[in-house]
């Protein structure tokens, strides 16, 4: 790994705005590689899975790109993963949105936001930390970040304590999770101004400290 600029693969499966996430990661010092197939992960030190939209079609596209098993292996190997929005929801076992079976790397499901005054939940909202974590270094405890979604992951069983932050829109939902190097955020750091860039910079540091690829 180039310690100055770790390589972060951004999974490109036709589900969302990769332009912003690519620019934002480059801005915080990462070397960005778009991964549209399994080979795209070969040289990477960290993995970002972005995405907006429904879980079912997204899993279909990941499958056609032959990325499902490589992503599972990546997480099983304990390597740094940041899921953004749908990229967080896909970590759970299933989604209520269309009944899709998702990656199953975390216990729990993605559920529709309960009691929401408006859906989709679009705009800046407060992210309240449940515990300290280096991903949020330098951010206020109740920082405002930018959201665009109607569903959110709800961890349970052994992963109930993976909750890192919560947000309120009608009711409280999980807006960030962490289980070791497996990280996920429901908001869009690439669209959340300086605070979002700071979070991506923190992820890049986590990737840097992970020491890169296993032999």
């Amino acid at each position: 790994m180039n310690p100055d600029s770790p390589t972060i693969a951004v999974v490109d499966y036709g589900a969302g705005n990769l332009v912003s996430i690519g620019h934002a990661l480059e801005r915080v010092g990462a070397t960005v590689r778009l991964a549209s197939g399994p080979r795209g992960l070969d040289e990477a030190d960290g993995l970002v899975v972005p995405g907006v939209g429904a879980a079912g079609p997204a899993m279909g596209r990941l499958g056609r790109a032959r990325l499902v098993e490589p992503i599972r292996r990546w997480v099983d190997d304990g390597r740094p993963y940041l899921g953004i929005c749908l990229g967080l929801q896909l970590l759970f076992e299933a989604s209520d949105e269309d009944g899709a079976e998702t990656l199953g790397l975390l216990r729990g499901r993605s559920v529709r936001l309960e009691a929401a005054p408006s859906l989709p939940h679009i705009g800046w909202n407060q992210v309240v930390r449940s515990r300290a974590h280096t991903l949020f270094d330098g951010l206020a405890d109740d920082v405002d970040l930018y959201f665009v979604h109607s569903y959110a992951g709800r961890p349970d069983g052994r992963d109930a304590d993976a909750v890192l932050a919560t947000t309120e829109h009608g009711a409280t939902f999980v807006s960030a999770i962490a289980r070791g190097p497996l990280l996920g955020v429901q908001f869009h750091p690439e669209r959340s101004g300086d605070d979002g860039l700071r979070l991506l910079s923190n992820f890049t540091s986590i990737v840097r400290r992970s020491g890169g690829r296993p032999d």
Binding site: S20, W124, N125, G196
Partner: protein, 281 residues
């Protein structure tokens, strides 16, 4: 709780930011990506680009501006002006925009709203409504409209030049039902006049739709922005010359909103921004 958004609007023509009165008499106000970057640093919650020339030959220039902006302003960007099809919308999104505002093309073909919402998600579809009060309408306009009298506001298109006869409130409801994620409501009577938003127009629409409404046209000072939210029910306020000419800052508006008890996103402390810049190559 969602924050009230403060949105600088950059009217773009021929690759420059311009601002006119009632869509004419344009004056040059700067380079779009540069202004966008400045506003992002100053705490803008989103940015809107409106290509007011919207000439087909200017498309390449607009996409280039969007791309350069996406490299330096890491906040949501909406682009409007002359987008006529899902394919054109895709090109703008691929250049780095998060949302596209549909206006004249949606009036001509309302199903375009549904097509774009299905393809890109409703969060990416903003319907821009330019409304003008009917000549007879006065202070009693809202009451007359509620009482079933002829609609007080009609939709105008092509940059305010053509009247459609369409009732602006009914069109807002239809656009929401067809899949618009939010509405950008501009009072053409007030646009560029610095006489305040048309809060009656805003209230007439926000009372009927469940999606966020962005107030536009006429903002002169922070008090107008507070009125757009408290009286008009808007979820976001958009302004151009007030910010471009540095008459008031984004922070001025946020402080006024906060003082009125409205939730706003804290503007970054300069120390944090400077520290962050230093940490980046």
């Amino acid at each position: 709780m969602l924050r009230i958004r403060v949105i600088p609007c950059l009217d773009v023509a021929g690759g420059r930011v311009v601002k006119g009165t009632r869509f004419v008499d344009l004056t040059d106000e700067g380079d779009p990506p540069e202004l966008a970057g400045r506003y992002a640093e100053e705490g803008a919650d989103e940015l809107v680009f409106l290509d007011i020339s919207a000439a087909p030959e200017g498309r390449g220039t607009l996409l280039d501006i969007v791309e350069r902006t996406a490299r330096r302003a890491f906040i949501p960007l909406t682009v409007g002006g002359g987008v006529r099809s899902a394919a054109e919308m895709r090109a703008v999104l691929r250049a780095g925009a998060d949302k596209v505002a549909l206006n004249t093309a949606a009036v001509a073909d309302p199903v375009l709203i549904s097509r774009c919402a299905r393809r890109f998600g409703r969060q990416a579809v903003v319907v821009a409504i330019d409304a003008r009060r009917r000549p007879a309408a006065g202070a009693d306009a809202a009451r007359a409209s509620a009482a079933g009298a002829p609609a007080a506001w009609q939709v105008v298109v092509r940059g305010g030049r053509d009247a459609t006869g369409l009732d602006a409130v009914a069109w807002a409801e239809r656009a929401a039902a067809l899949g618009a994620g939010e509405l950008l409501v501009t009072s053409i009577d007030r646009d560029g006049t610095r006489s305040g938003y048309d809060t009656e127009l805003l209230r007439a629409i926000t009372a009927r739709v469940g999606i966020p409404v962005i107030a536009s046209g006429g903002a002169a000072d922070p008090a107008d922005c507070v009125a757009a939210v408290l009286e008009g029910g808007a979820g976001a306020v958009l302004a151009a010359s007030m910010f471009h000419r540095r008459i008031h800052s984004i922070d001025d508006v946020k402080q006024a909103l906060a003082a009125a008890g409205l939730p706003v996103r804290a503007t970054n402390a300069p120390a944090v921004a400077g520290d962050l810049a230093a940490a980046m190559p």
